[in-house]
């Protein structure tokens, strides 16, 4: 990154012998909507609190536009935070909650009123401006928290599970709104979430975090389609993981086989030694469903294939997930869309053939 807005260098934090954040480096560019994705307890919220200044890191520096802000107290940092619990001031009306930070900035009264009015209309909160936080709905509270954090027009906004307390429908609408706000205000967002769908749909760039480490940093598509580690592949969506041994390897392709004599053909830019263990990931939607053919038949169409019996079907509306058990006991998870199976969805007990492209197999580092 040529000119990062925020740079973390070797930041780490531990609590009472437990490593919350292992030393990590991260750069955030101006205008990004960066998502930190991880299960609860992975250290993502701690990292956010370190950025906001509520926790002092054990090691490392935080640079904002090249300036070291590691020692700055929270009230002097050029960023604002939206709390997971919203932390609205219960003794202040919505209007005064939003004005809180502006008053601190010693702006003129008219200027404060103007900016508060702007925030109220931006987040469609005009109707509840004179109510107290306990008198408004959860969705409104969430928007007040967002308005309050954005009111000072911070160059960087930290959001701790901003949509966590909302129901699903409201969450989807709010996601749109977050994206719109981010684009409109040009603020850089760092958003912490445990919801993979949220991260994938919102982020311009994201990181998957586990046990205080950043497992992979990249665009949502990179992380979903090209996971480099097993945990990442498993954390995001459904995946078939295949443990194999390398048979042959050239500059672009690798041939592997599994213990149950399935041979696989994958693309890989790296060279792998013969006999080395290799883990492959295959997304369920990359598997094509076909009639149970003879292996010779299938080989003409695709380099990778298998066949088995459907043992389970879970219907999810727009798509279905099948469990296909092979003769050797391996279970494949296959995702089929409703439109792709116009001829009829396979039922439990049906024999089916499976095939997939070499490009669909992702070689994992570990």
């Amino acid at each position: 990154m040529s000119d990062p807005l925020l740079e973390l260098r070797g930041i780490s934090k531990h609590f009472a012998g437990h490593m919350a954040v292992a030393p990590l480096d991260l750069g955030i560019a101006r205008g990004e909507l960066f998502c930190l994705l991880g299960a609860s307890g992975c250290g993502k919220s701690t990292l956010l609190r370190v950025l906001a200044g509520f926790e002092a890191p054990d090691t490392g520096r935080i640079l904002f536009e090249g300036r070291d802000i590691t020692e700055d107290p929270p009230h002097l940092r050029p960023l604002n935070m939206m709390f997971q619990s919203y932390a609205l001031f219960p003794h202040l009306r919505v209007r005064d909650n939003i004005a809180f930070g502006l008053k601190q900035a010693r702006l003129a009264r008219e200027e404060i009123n103007r900016q508060v009015a702007g925030m109220l209309s931006l987040l469609q909160l005009e109707d509840c401006a004179d109510r107290y936080p306990r008198q408004i709905s959860g969705g409104q509270r969430q928007r007040v928290a967002l308005a309050r954090a954005l009111a000072r027009r911070p160059p960087l906004l930290l959001l701790d599970e901003p949509l966590g307390a909302l129901d699903r429908k409201l969450r989807e609408n709010t996601r749109e709104e977050l994206r719109r706000l981010q684009a409109e205000l040009g603020t850089t967002f760092i958003l912490v979430t445990h919801d993979q769908e949220e991260a994938l749909s919102l982020a311009t760039r994201m990181a998957v975090m586990s046990q205080g480490r950043l497992l992979q940093v990249g665009s949502p598509h990179e992380i979903y389609a090209r996971p480099i580690r097993r945990e990442v592949a498993e954390f995001l969506g459904r995946v078939n993981l295949i443990d194999t041994v390398v048979d042959r390897c050239d500059q672009r392709h690798v041939h592997c086989s599994t213990a149950d004599t399935l041979t696989l053909f994958a693309c890989s830019s790296k060279l792998h030694a013969r006999g080395a263990a290799l883990c492959l990931a295959l997304r369920p939607e990359q598997i094509r469903l076909g009639p149970p053919g003879t292996p010779d038949d299938a080989r003409n169409h695709a380099p990778n294939h298998d066949s088995g019996t459907v043992t389970g079907v879970s219907y999810l509306g727009h798509l279905s997930v099948l469990e296909v058990r092979t003769g050797s006991g391996r279970v494949w998870r296959v995702q089929v869309s409703d439109s792709a199976t116009a001829g009829g969805m396979p039922a439990a007990g049906d024999r089916v053939g499976l095939s997939w492209d070499a490009e669909a197999l992702v070689v994992l580092d570990a």
Partner: protein, 285 residues
């Protein structure tokens, strides 16, 4: 429901009515020492005999006005000193770990297990010219002469603050304990240095506790008798002492009753205004 009401009426109102009736009589050198409620004229017809002389005397005699001022000063001063001492203590207790908090709260309430009278006598021993405090100061060379603290206004304040501190501390602690620490973080995040975060967030949110504590200290302190009588000097007469004197020394029951009722009425006023304020503050919580 009926039982509940009759108990309330019987236990709370009946004594009050009796006091009211005595306050509207005239002192007599008799048994009981006040004029009867009914007056029979020469024809034998009975009529109510109500006299407002006691209330008039309360307004006219400067002794009572002086007692009012002194008592208000003592109660207000005690409440203020208790607030200044109790708030930081309550803050520290609320900020400590749950286990430690329990121990500290227990220590605050521990003195209640002994009679107030005994504890005030203990203070007399501490503050006396030959008392422990005086001896310790002389022994350490900080003072040459014995302390002359006992039977002076400072001794009364020491005793009052000592006795009433828990009543201020506990409600403040209760409101600070409920305070979400994240609100202070939010204030810091929005640009407040710690002291401003306290003024703009913690203090307003703990105001109900501060008010409850102030009332709990101020109201009983207004009529306090034991502490000023034992620790105070002979010079000042507070409402409690005036009441005692009128009743037991002068045997002027009607004026004592009138004084007791006005005292009670003013306490009721304080409580009512507290209720109204509390409701207004409670709008948002």
């Amino acid at each position: 429901m009926l039982l509940c009401w009759s108990w309330t009426l019987g236990l709370l109102l009946l004594p009050l009515v009796i006091v009211l009736r005595i306050s509207l009589a005239e002192p007599r050198l008799a048994q009981p020492p006040y004029s009867p409620l009914w007056r029979t004229d020469v024809e034998g017809a009975a009529s109510l005999d109500l006299r407002w002389d006691s209330y008039r005397l309360l307004l006219e005699d400067p002794v009572y006005a002086q007692a009012w001022w002194d008592s208000l000063g003592l109660a207000g001063g005690t409440a203020l000193l208790c607030l200044l001492l109790a708030y930081p203590m309550a803050w520290a207790i609320a900020a400590s770990s749950p286990g430690r908090r329990r121990t500290l709260l227990l220590l605050v309430m521990l003195p209640f297990w002994t009679s107030l009278l005994l504890r005030i006598y203990a203070w007399m021993g501490l503050l006396a010219p030959q008392g422990m405090l005086s001896q310790a100061l002389i022994w350490s060379g900080l003072r040459d002469l014995p302390l002359t603290l006992l039977h002076s206004p400072p001794a009364v304040f020491i005793g009052m603050v000592y006795a009433y501190l828990p009543f201020m501390l506990l409600p403040i602690h209760a409101s600070l304990e409920k305070l979400d620490a994240q609100l202070l973080e939010a204030a810091a995040d929005l640009g407040c240095p710690p002291w401003l975060a306290f003024l703009r967030v913690a203090l307003p949110l703990s105001l109900p506790g501060v008010m409850a504590g102030t009332v709990l200290v101020f109201v009983p302190a207004l009529g306090e008798f034991v502490i000023p009588d034992l620790l105070g000097g002979p010079g000042t007469l507070l409402l409690g002492q005036v009441l005692w004197n009128e009743f037991f020394v002068n045997r002027a029951w009607p004026i004592a009753a009138a004084l007791a009722l006005t005292l009670l009425g003013s306490m009721g006023l304080v409580l009512a205004s507290h209720q109204i304020l509390q409701r207004r503050l409670g709008q948002h919580t």
